[in-house]
Symmetry: C4
Subunit: 361 residues, 4 copies
């Protein structure tokens, strides 16, 4: 890795997408880049952000400005975190280890996926910034418990339960590219998972409802999960304000407004178009994060102006990792942080808390 | 047929369109694909669906979910039916026979066109799912009667009167491709049709009004038709809510909101943009179906959310038939059914009756 | 001319534009096709029409239908007329003579331009349908008078004063193509025009205001004109409802809502977007015509639904003339008439007076 | 210079952009043409203007019309001025000297940039039309003072303080083209600027907030500046109406509604979309100018109709200078003036003060 250098035409986050396309095997790139079905949600994520306009104030004194912010009672250097992105060894031989190093260097937090290609304990060791464990619900309650206990022991500070992808969606692009996990990359954190008995279906049953969805978590499972751990539980994949409210009432500590990067159900709203209503539903104190197509400092600014406490960065971490390893991820995050500072400064805002609805047109 | 296999890149309904373009003679493809005039209605059908957003709910328990639904007092496995599509021998030597076999296999109903290229009795024999006969009005009332009586005798369960295409519209694309019915394909169900006396026009008369439109059905004909049969009569090709109401008052059992796939008058609204108003006009109990550009499970979901009881699938059946015969049609329908189940599951809806306006943004 | 035949791919009005591009000298095509400046008005004319949707009624009895309509107390076979289009010898050696023959054959009226390339008397002889003379205001009042008297004598039934093009606008496309009148083509009807003294400008004066606009007509000239003739005077080039009202108050018999096909001031509204407000301003009895991008029977239908009594056809006459002479123009007009009949029939409307706002979505 | 001639295909302002692209070194063209980040603001400037429609009045008598107008108590021949554009020697060896000659010839004013590549005194000598000095705030207050005093002495009639570009923004296009100031081109007016002590940052500090923004002007600096000079002070780079109001209250004589041609913060509103609100905030007497994508006479008309007193022309001066020196700039300005006169005449407006909101749709 020591020889990888940052390409000189990596000037913005989107550059990493373009460069990754060149270095990654086609099927992997297509899998990561793609969304569900006709990718309308995927495109919509970007279009919704683009449609929002920042209304800047001039001549404010912002020389004491800072991007520090409070999330779940912790102080973050920047209102950004790495989204859980599975199987990072597909991007780079060191996988999540390299990503964790970059996150630490930039003081930016990381959500480690259930489907990480490296043991969560090993990742945690490299991570000095906020570290959260993302849980994909497992049919076997005990096995969920064992994952949570491992996460607690490894020092993770929150549990993120992802709820929007009980089914993977209709990923035609990945299918077309014949994507399959490359050899040597696997869900190592699930290697002790008890095997499920093979299901039989009557002709009248559906493999969707009676099959896959019988393994999906529901609100009872959320309540149970919250009881099992002292760690804050965050629900990832909320779009409807009423669902955010329900999570809050059940004792969750936060929600992540997200459509999973357009990868599950197609034709759903952009997170950025729902975040204001979600914030309204849960009040100003509840933790609300957001992800989906965040690629510019101005995107971060817009998300916060509409009610998010912070944003997650998904695909760009994978692309930067593929292009230039830990250095790439760190560089990508630094670009984003600086762009965000520039956005604040040129909009005339000194502190994250001052980025509000009235900062937009 | 035994050698035709499903192409491995047939992953979604639109793939069948692409693949059919490769196997079909140009003129036939253009005829089937095309719409009227500038094809604004054709494109509009797709664009209107694309503009609708589903607002999903998370963590609902849908493990008892099912797509079964009630249409005209019958239970359907899925809220989908094959639209009447004429002359299917142009797609495949077995024509409507193959389509009927596929429909039966998937437990999806079929509307058999007056212009089927196979005798309606032979088709009916292959069809174990809902079977409806689609009537193109014939100038000679007696001949209409003979068609209806044949349909009744052959076991058809409803009569669908198509009312939006007294004139074919201005089909420039088909004209450009010099489309003509291929040899060996004809409207075999009309072979006993009495010949019409050739009309003469005064200079002041119009071949449109005094010619073609003098052969078109009107509301009196609808009333007459309803009297002639015990079968429910469904009016196909309604866009205006007041027309739906009128059909209901005259004793029709349902309407199909449709612009004939953009093939007749150009510049009319998409069915999906009218269906909510139609539903409002006729109340919740009346049968309202819809067609036009249904290509994804999410399209089916949207149509139902806006008030349709079920949707019809038009061109895709022809494309799939051309590509892979009965197996192709069955595969295409299975894709659509599974996508619809996935849409329901990921939207958090267990039953068709729970797909409502509030399932949309 | 006897050998020119209708190309078999001339199926709709737009086909004539495409075909004319092939046969016309580049500079002439560009001149005719083009609009002012960035051609936003030109494109807007089309886009505005495209955005309007017809809401058809089914099962009406229209077998007595007809396109006959009343304009200025005359009965027209179809609510269409040929717009004044200058210098038609650029399209065809017979110029306006051929156009007039075609118009007569189709019983469609023609507005003959001041800038016709054939004497107005000769054109009139060929014209059995409504014939109106279009006047471009001449600085010399007496010369206007002599033109009007010639028109009266030649049998023209109305005077159309064009008021939107005192200045030609910024015609960059025509300039780029280095358009100039070809040899042998000239404004023969103006050959007796008294020469104007050459103007001198002080440095502080503007060739626009103190030059060109000093030759433009104003409301006083309109009043004067109306006094000079028994013929009805129609004002062409109105967009603002208040101007239509003013014309009406001064005694004009009608207005033509038009932006001159996007050829004068760019960035103005489409005629179709203003016609409803104009109709509202002048009441239901006043003659309101409209032009701009009318290319389909559905366009005619939309214009009438929004308040026009009839529409004018501009460029298509020139294109059809270039492609196939009188036969081409006749064919083009027949296409348009038939498309209009089809639009009425499929929309469920029997008479022109029944095409109203409620025929649209 | 004597041999440069106006290219015959330079017919409108945009032509100069196209032609400049051919003659300028790639990096310079990209630098000048480009905007911040994804250039959404850059494109938005054009799109916002395009979306506005002029509603013309016909038959008004405008033969006494004129484009003269009052700005800051002076009479301008046309409501246009040259925007401050830095380093014009990159376009042409004579740089701002040639531009000033052209401006004088057309009686159009010029704002001379702090970053002019020619001494402000030399430029002033060539300039007989309104001359304003544009100030980029300097950390050292005394140095600001010395610049203002030079400007006063050199005959400049107003001071324009640019406030929207404390940071240059994220200029990815220029970075990609590896833009750097060519040899021989420099900010000659700043050659006596005292060197700043190099700053050191703690790890927790930000080079944006604690670095660059510590050199930016704030409202206190504006107040100070106004006290230092008898000349009117104009604030350039305002978008928010409240900022315009604040500038007015502090004693500024005017504001320039501008987003710096999309070159600083991306995703901000177009000036044309904010100017009406700014005008409303400051009342009818305060000087409000506007820039951004003004390329057509109709653009000037629209800006004035929405509340601007006059507009600035930025990039086109640079392009015209590159293409044909002083003659090019003069030609470009003449085109714009004539187009503006044509727009007024065809819209039926005789005087600049009569261009109002009601001149638009
Ligand atoms: C390749 C890939 C893998 C992902 N894996 C996970 C995962 O394991 N767990 C999870 O909750 N979300 C996962 N996501 C979703 C991301 O966390 C995030 O919600 C999404 O990518 C939106 O952000 P983006 O637009 O910045 O990519 C994945 C996304 C991608 C693209
Ligand atoms: C080739 C073709 C033939 C058709 N034949 C008939 C027909 O015989 N009777 C009828 O009522 N509709 C007919 N239709 C219309 C369809 O039933 C349906 O309304 C239309 O295709 C819209 O659905 P789609 O967008 O899924 O194709 C036909 C459509 C096509 C494309
Ligand atoms: C080549 C050309 C010549 C024209 N000459 C005249 C004319 O002499 N008098 C006039 O009033 N309008 C003239 N017009 C405008 C037309 O009458 C009409 O308003 C315009 O073309 C809009 O109709 P269209 O979109 O169908 O072309 C001319 C238009 C074109 C394209
Ligand atoms: C190459 C270039 C240099 C500029 N230099 C300055 C400058 O020195 N001072 C300033 O206030 N604005 C500067 N601007 C901004 C312009 O004054 C103006 O606000 C902007 O270009 C918008 O106008 P346009 O769209 O007509 O180019 C510059 C713009 C460009 C393109």
């Amino acid at each position: 890795m020591s020889h990888v250098i940052i390409p000189e035409d990596a000037l913005c986050v989107a550059d990493y997408e373009r460069l990754a396309k060149e270095v990654l095997p086609h099927a992997i790139y297509e899998y990561v880049y793609g969304g569900g079905a006709d990718e309308m949600t995927l495109r919509g994520n970007r279009e919704s952000l683009d449609a929002i306009k920042i209304l800047p104030r001039m001549l404010n004194d912002v020389r004491h400005g800072s991007t520090h912010t409070q999330v779940l009672g912790q102080t973050w250097r920047t209102p950004m975190m790495l989204a859980p992105v599975a199987f990072q060894k597909m991007a780079h031989e060191q996988g999540e280890i390299a990503t964790a190093q970059a996150a630490s260097a930039l003081e930016i937090g990381m959500m480690v996926s259930t489907l990480a290609s490296v043991e969560m304990e090993a990742i945690s060791e490299q991570l000095n910034s906020p570290k959260w464990f993302q849980l994909y619900w497992q049919v076997d309650r005990d096995f969920n418990l064992s994952l949570i206990k491992r996460a607690e022991k490894a020092g993770y500070q929150a549990i993120v339960l992802t709820v929007d992808s009980a089914i993977h969606g209709i990923r035609n692009r990945a299918q077309r590219a014949k994507f399959a996990l490359p050899e040597g990359v696997s869900a190592v954190n699930l290697k002790d998972r008890p095997e499920l008995p093979r299901q039989a279906f009557t002709p009248d049953q559906s493999i969707v409802f009676q099959g896959m969805m019988s393994e999906a978590p529901n609100w009872n499972d959320v309540a149970w999960l919250i009881e099992q751990t002292e760690l804050p539980v965050i629900i990832k994949g909320i779009l409807h304000p009423a669902d955010a409210r329900k999570a809050q009432e059940l004792g969750a500590q936060g929600v992540i407004v997200s459509n999973h990067g357009g990868r599950t159900l197609d034709c759903v709203p952009s997170a950025i178009d729902m975040v204001a209503a979600v914030r309204e539903a849960v009040g100003s104190e509840f933790c609300v994060l957001l992800d989906g197509a965040i690629q510019r400092g101005t995107d971060v600014f817009k998300a916060i102006a509409l009610g998010a406490d912070a944003v997650l960065i998904g695909r760009p971490q994978f692309y930067a990792l593929a292009v230039a390893g830990a250095a790439g991820v760190a560089h990508m995050l630094r670009i984003l942080r600086e762009e965000f500072e520039v956005a604040m400064a040129l909009a005339g805002v000194a502190y994250v808390k001052d980025i509000t609805r009235s900062s937009l047109l």
